[in-house]
Amino acid sequence: MILAAAMNPDAFSGAQDAIARMRRGDPDALAAMISRYQHRLYRYLLRLVREPAAADDLFQQTWLRVMEKIGRYDARRNFESWLFSVAHNLAIDAWRGKRGESLDHGADAGDSSEPACERLRAGDPDALERLLDFERGAMLAACMHELPAIHREVLTLRFEEEMKLEEIAEVAGIPLSTVKSRLKRALEGLRAAMEARLPGGPRT
């Protein structure tokens, strides 16, 4: 549905109009844009930082920053890439504020609790079978949750946001070659995590 909206020319022209009105300081246009991007932006932030409270705060900070910087936004740039790059930069700043953590911190960073995959594995065989049958997506999400943030980020931008590699590079502020290598490592890491728990992975 999100993709359909993005592909819809009317929706695109509506977004351009809203951006133009935002630049003129129209609060209704800003509210419309927040509403338009709330699911995608919150999902991206949550995948990135993993903690709902932190994602919630970063979501709000992102729009404050958007309001502050919209006058300097270059309308020739892709708004979504710009919006997500604002969110990305704020997440990095938040990480820098946390001593000893960084965006490329390993899978076990900042989470002393039992990993989600382990929690899933801990069930009895029947429960596991049910999980495999009906909650394969949840298992994949749990394994993705354990990946380093830089890998979670490229996966969500590529597969959930369906961004082009160039757009991902713009959001994360990295070269295209790094996007590719992160995608490769992220997928390999995800597959290794899944196969460790579910031999064969999510075969369809």
Binding site: P27, Q38, P52, D56, M67, L140, F159, K180, R191, G201
Partner: protein, 160 residues
């Protein structure tokens, strides 16, 4: 009959293909190879399963009232910015007003005293002395006003 190991596509290529990150020529080459190689075709299917799974991950629920809370925070921030601009304007106007009053009094004092009002050896109605005194007074007034405005803003923030 399976192909020699060295003929198989490597894991990197297969992962990048699943991510749609190969260029057209690489993708075509891989697909042509997979048509003839069951092992690589199977690997491609597995990677496609991961790609599909990632596109269909369970979606997180939006926190309650996120939209409203964000709007409220934006309104508060906008109001705070407007307050700051107003405070700056008021401080500027106050300084200008104080200077005008000082200059007017200087004229009046010169007329009334005939240009000489000596206290403790200093002629207070000399332009230099008077303007130095006025400047100190203006800065003191501005500092007091700034402190008062800062306190008010902090109290408002506590209330909000």
């Amino acid at each position: 009959m399976s192909e020699p190991e060295s003929h198989h596509a490597d894991a990197e290529t297969l992962a990048l293909a699943a991510a749609g990150a190969l260029d057209i020529q690489e993708q075509r080459h891989l697909e042509e190879h997979a048509r003839e190689c069951p092992a690589c075709r199977r690997e491609m299917e597995i990677w496609s399963g991961y790609a599909l799974g990632l596109r269909q991950l369970p979606q997180p629920a939006i926190p309650a009232h996120l939209l409203e809370r964000t709007r409220t925070r934006l309104v508060q921030e906008r109001a705070a910015a407007a307050d700051r601009r107003w405070d700056e304007l008021m401080l500027g106007a106050l300084a200008l007003f104080a200077w005008t009053v000082g200059l007017t009094f200087w004229f009046v004092a010169r007329i009334v005293t005939g240009g000489e009002l000596v206290i403790m050896g200093a002629n207070l109605v000399r332009f230099g002395t008077w303007s130095a005194g006025s400047t100190v007074l203006v800065w003191l007034t501005a500092a007091v006003a700034a402190i008062a405005l800062g306190r008010r803003r902090r109290e408002l923030r506590r209330v909000l």
